[in-house]
């Protein structure tokens, strides 16, 4: 197993990063850190995806000198998917940060548990 993990080092690192991001997202109570964890998680997925397209000794999929041979270029599909993913994750980051600003403006704290308590209290007071 260790040899297999070493062979797939990119993917190994990617899933470890995914786990770290996941844990940060669950564990951290600070909203901004949570959002960073989210970004780490999604970037790890993109690394995982991108590593699947790479083939030893082949070049980036940009046609040079009119060569259109399959053996000359790496797999273009993961690149396209990751491109989509990066843009999606920046949109999410924007929305989450906007939510953070609004919550901070109202409750003056970034701690999500604290915020939830304050929100509950404000209903009853």
């Amino acid at each position: 197993m260790w040899q297999a993990l070493y062979d797939n080092l990119e993917q190994t690192v990617a899933v470890i990063l995914f786990g770290i991001g996941f844990t940060i997202l669950l564990l951290q109570r600070n909203l901004i850190r949570k959002i960073i964890g989210l970004n780490i998680m999604s970037t790890a997925t993109y690394l995982f995806l991108a590593s699947m397209g790479y083939i030893q000794g082949r070049k980036a999929p940009i046609v040079t000198d009119g060569v259109t041979d399959l053996a000359a270029y790496i797999n273009p599909i993961p690149a396209g998917l990751v491109l989509t993913g990066i843009v999606v994750s920046v949109s999410f980051t924007g929305i989450m940060l906007a939510l953070t600003v609004r919550l901070y403006r109202r409750y003056r704290t970034l701690d999500i548990d604290q915020i939830a308590l304050l929100a509950k209290g404000e209903d009853m007071a």
């Binding site: 844990t23 046609v63 690149a79 403006r105 109202r106």
Partner: protein
């Protein structure tokens, strides 16, 4: 309140009857019976008992008293040790969950196809056509651009829509002239202007370097945008570079100058035209493709700047959407408007 009466009150059938009759039994009983004795005397104990006798006559007051009680308990709870222990437990559980996830995923990776070898399942007839026929069928030298804007164009349409909808969501959240109900608007505006106090006003170094850098950045962005089908880059990166140039200009010269050429109206119309163009162009091509007709868009000579059919205009449209979205994100975060 006599002893016998309160015994009866505690019985389940009595509680059920009361609940059917009054409609708010279950939780109240939990609150009154399940809370352990807090350190300080609870504020409304007396009032509660009085209300218990008068059930049915002053229900809404009783409701209010209950609310106050629950609020008090909530505040108490926030400072108890129980909450801290629960928090600790949650942290341990989360950490454990993360570790288990990593363990399982590592196990999976060990069984995944070997990295960098040519005989992985992903190396199949799909990419064979993309690579071998891509140039001929889409006219794009950059195979990735050909793939995302021609073969799998629907995904990319969805992706531009994600940007658009994200910009709208941030507008809902942060646009300031439309205020939320609870807060007075004046205070918010004061806060926003406060933010601007931190801005270095007429900083010569910043403005000088922005004068030099902004045109270069914008030019580079346009280059990346227009060469999306010829080399790495394309709509997304080009748009992001364009928006970074705009943000630099905004930072150096302030909102007044930037507002002269970029307003909310402009944002909406640019998004409208780019996305509308994208949608209509792709709808035409999808419709033609699905019904087996030729779209009749010339592909041009590969390698020329005006080639590969719709890919370059689409790249420009995507780039404009990206640039507008990123700029409006920034402007909304800074000032809550344009």
């Amino acid at each position: 309140m006599s002893k016998r009466r309160s015994d009866w009150e505690q019985r389940p059938q009595a509680r059920f009857l009361r609940w059917m009759r009054d409609g708010y039994g279950a939780l109240d009983d939990q609150i009154t019976t399940s809370i352990s004795q807090p350190a300080a005397p609870r504020p409304d104990q007396e009032a509660m008992e009085a209300h218990d006798i008068l059930v049915g006559t002053h229900r809404h007051e009783r409701e209010l008293a209950l609310d106050r009680l629950a609020h008090y308990d909530l505040q108490n709870w926030a400072n108890t040790r129980g909450r801290k222990v629960l928090g600790r437990l949650y942290a341990v559980l989360a950490l454990l969950l993360g570790l288990i996830l990593i363990y399982f995923l590592l196990n999976t990776v060990a069984f995944m196809p070997r990295f960098a070898s040519a005989d992985v399942p992903a190396n199949n007839e799909v990419i064979a056509r993309y690579v071998e026929k891509g140039l001929e069928e889409t006219g794009a030298i950059n195979i990735v651009a050909g793939m995302i804007l021609d073969y799998r164009a629907f995904d990319t349409l969805g992706e531009s829509t994600v940007l658009f909808i994200a910009a709208c969501a941030v507008l809902i959240l942060l646009r300031i002239d439309l205020d939320d109900h609870g807060q007075p608007m004046q205070q918010l505006i004061a806060e926003e202007s406060d933010d601007r106090h931190y801005e270095p006003k007429n900083d010569r170094i910043l403005q000088g370097s922005a004068m030099v850098l902004t045109p270069i950045i914008l030019l580079f962005g346009i280059y990346v945008l227009f060469n999306g089908h010829l080399g790495p880059g394309g709509g997304f990166s080009g748009g992001a570079i364009l928006s970074s140039g705009l943000i630099l200009y905004l930072n150096a010269f302030g909102f007044q100058k930037a507002g002269r050429f970029f307003t909310y109206k402009i944002f909406m119309w640019v998004s409208f035209f780019s996305l509308g163009f994208y949608g209509v162009a792709k709808a035409y091509s999808f419709y033609m493709g699905a019904n087996g007709l030729h779209s009749g868009i010339p592909l041009g000579t590969p390698g020329a700047i005006l080639s590969s059919g719709l890919i370059m205009p689409l790249n420009i449209a995507v780039g404009l959407v990206v640039a507008c979205t990123m700029y409006i994100f920034y402007a909304l975060f800074r000032k809550g408007g344009l």
